[in-house]
Symmetry: C2
Subunit: 493 residues, 2 copies
């Protein structure tokens, strides 16, 4: 094999892997939104075929050898970054035997349908045996990964490469330790007992306001918006990034889910084209991706200056005046609740930390599946002061475990923490950020994110990128500082 | 290789080919309806990858050998029918060298964009050089196919396997010879000069009426309706058949395009499950598929008895009374025109025959590309009595040639002719067909079509299926008889 033919073979293979992944994304997008009911079985076969072909390409000995040969030569730093990333992916993909991947896929396929049934019956016991199988396989997966430290590291790595329990525990503990008293403080304030402000809008109005934001953030030639029950972002092509929202749950939900998903989409769209069709054209971690959605949804989207730009439109749609203070309050209300996806900014991390603690326990054997409802409910009572009346409101509320996504939950808080670190930095880099937000001018902010986060693709770990951007790795202080300040203002004297 | 392992290998390969084809269908469906503008380039790559992988499977020596070995053994007639169909497909696929397929795909990709440009400029000369390349490649394709008779047979075979110019010419000539005088007769009648009846409805009303038909014809668990500029039917899974319509052009367009596409979809949905995931699970020809859409659109859908069922709904939506006679007239009006897809039932075949004559001439060299506007316009003047004012109204109106679909046009008339033959037969088999239509009860008709057409999948040629169903192959007489009778009634004294 000549150097040139190795190069073109590796490029062609990476391109095909990209195409498989984008086709699979479209199959998934369609499944969530349009697929007729009876089409689901074959759709699973279609998705499995794309995954298998992609995996075969990635783990082929020919690819591995060609990459090795190329890396032994002199390369540009750009080429080396891509090749090293690809080699890591190959090694990681080889760790799991195909037979194991197949059993996991079967077990989670089954567990998902059992979970749906258990939810309907509001009975965790229906789900428990299937979940036990999934947990056993996840422990096995962690063994195959062969990482140092806590057994949980081996599943966390699927979503947050390089992150460890040792690094996460103190961060999550500090969040728990500060948020619980902060919530008590908020709840004891007179403002907390005031009537909640609700902004009600019909679907057309919701769409008009949401579309203004999208138009200012995303290139309409490369993106689109659809409706689905659960909002999501989907990348079906380098220039084909799709988000969804739902107008059925009212303006606050549709507006902030749109902003959230658009934040994800912006990251996908600003992924550097020089990495197109290579292993480096991707995010390094789920948490870093989440930081981009949280950046726009919370750090920018819940500020007064941001809302000032939308105030006239909102007034027009609801056909009455609303003060900026009231608008700001409306979207920053704190309230206890049982459901993670309905939680406010202050409660949200506690919902996630409960799941993180339980997942670790399930993996290291200190928590048994059969005890989950009690473990769950006790923590909800202790951390949030509410106790689910049934399992569907409690331990059965999220799909993640049923589909084998164990290790995913912490990325929600990692992303939130990163987003506050990034906001801290952008505020000090860009003194006029509030005046930009007031004008709905997001271009300089998009450029800042591109330069400080998006441009690296997957050539560094999430923590390295955050370190480079802000001077330190995962650190909860900016997030806690932001919450304390903001809610002191909102709920203080 | 054991017999059992050959069997499972052949089954697995056919299943994968099916999956590739359905995935490709979804990629195409999405491209027509939802794909963001900038996503088109990569979408072509995605489609090309699916086609290539499918072609590689179909033409692999391993498959061919396994099929041969299986056919040498004793098999059930069912297995034999599938294997023989598969073997034919393999042989056909091997006739075209991959390098030729690639040049054709490049040439048509280019020709399509040039066609779009030429249409905008209303100038055929812009398109001519690209079309010349396509024609040259199509002549070459015909050489590779190596079929007997007229060079056109080699491209017709792509769409209408086994059909020949020798069989088509007399049928098309007889249609031309009868329709031109029939139109003159219609045009000289007093009824022709009466005011045209137009049924106007808003989009919601159009949707309500169209949905009633769909609900009665198609299983909602296995199908769906979307909107697109040009209506089409798409099979993205054995249980996932999608049709589209458009409400922008008014009720007549949306209603009849819905009925037309639903007819296609019914065929797809009634394809026998015993052939699922094999080469036999498909239509034998584009014309036979078209016969299923025309059967519902024209033969059933334009009858008084059919319309009687929809009359109350239509009256409710337009908020006025309309007599059944007027309703029947409204959807059976005859008018000269330049545009094929806007043509009425009587003019439609003439539009197609013009294209068929020109295609044959282009392939055998008796017509030059540069002369196309004149060849086209002269025929329109002679057969239909209208002359295009510019090329966009004329020779540039259809996409087919630009995408290399030469040999496709005749299938529209073949399907129409078949549909009249089938109607003739069902009327004699089922004496109460008008009373069924009046009640909107399509179940017995669906069963008749399943038994007489759909059940064979692709195990016989279209002409064999029609012969078995009606006692004779392609025959224009029932169609001409039907038109003459119907329009004598509508436009007679």
């Amino acid at each position: 094999m000549t150097h040139a033919s190795d190069e073109s073979f590796v490029a062609k293979t990476q391109k095909e892997i990209t195409l498989f992944s984008h086709i699979n994304a479209l199959l998934g997008w369609d499944k969530e939104i349009y697929l007729p009911h009876a089409g689901h079985d074959e759709r699973s076969d279609q998705e499995a075929l794309m995954s298998r072909l992609s995996h075969e390409q990635l783990t082929s000995p020919a690819l591995q050898k060609a990459v090795k040969r190329l890396l032994a030569h002199k390369t540009t730093p750009h080429q080396r970054a891509i090749l090293e990333r690809l080699e890591k992916d190959i090694q990681k993909a080889q760790k799991l035997p195909p037979s194991f991947v197949e059993s996991l896929s079967k077990a989670t396929g089954q567990a998902y349908s059992v979970w749906v049934k258990a939810r309907k019956q509001k009975n965790f016991k229906v789900f428990a045996p299937a979940l036990e199988k999934v947990i056993a396989l996840k422990q096995k997966q962690s063994d195959y990964m062969h990482l140092k430290g806590h057994v949980y590291n081996g599943v966390l790595d699927d979503f947050e490469e390089g992150m460890t329990v040792k690094q996460l525990d103190p961060v999550f503990d500090s969040i728990k330790d500060e948020l619980i008293p902060l919530i008590h403080l908020i709840e004891s304030s007179p403002a907390y007992r005031q009537k909640k402000i609700k902004i009600e809008m019909n679907e057309e109005s919701q769409k008009r306001v949401g579309d203004v934001f999208i138009k200012r953030l995303l290139d309409p030639q490369r993106s689109r918006l659809d409706l689905s029950i659960h909002p999501f972002t989907n990348t079906s092509g380098l220039h084909d990034v799709r988000i969804t929202t739902s107008y059925e749950r009212g303006f606050e939900f549709s507006f902030y889910s749109t902003i959230h998903e658009a934040g994800h989409a912006l990251y996908e769209l600003q992924m550097p084209q020089k990495f197109a069709n290579t292993a480096a054209h991707n995010d390094p971690s789920t948490g870093l991706h989440e930081s981009q959605s949280r950046f726009w949804e919370n750090m920018a989207g819940k500020r007064e200056s941001f809302l000032k730009f939308y105030q006239p439109m909102i007034q027009r749609e609801i056909k009455r005046k609303i003060s900026l203070t009231d608008l700001h309050r409306a979207f920053n209300q704190v309230e206890r609740g049982l459901i993670r996806i309905q939680a406010d900014e202050v409660h949200y991390p506690l919902h996630v930390i409960i799941r993180y603690e339980i997942e670790k326990g399930l993996l290291d054997g200190s928590i048994q599946v059969k005890d989950l409802p009690r473990e769950w409910n006790d923590r909800y009572e202790k951390y949030i002061g509410v106790r689910p009346k049934n399992d569907t409101q409690g331990v059965l509320q999220d799909v993640h475990w049923s589909i084998g996504a164990i290790g995913y939950f912490p990325t929600y808080v990692i992303g939130t923490v990163y987003s506050a670190q990034l906001w801290n930095q952008i505020e000090s880099d860009m003194k006029n950020i509030d005046s930009l937000l007031q004008k709905g001018n997001y271009t300089p902010i998009k450029k800042w994110l591109e330069k400080n986060v998006h441009q690296y693709g997957r050539t560094m770990s999430a923590d390295q990128i955050i370190q480079k951007a802000t001077g330190e790795g995962l650190n909860a202080k900016p997030f806690l500082h932001y919450l304390t300040n903001k809610y002191a203002q909102l709920y203080g004297e």
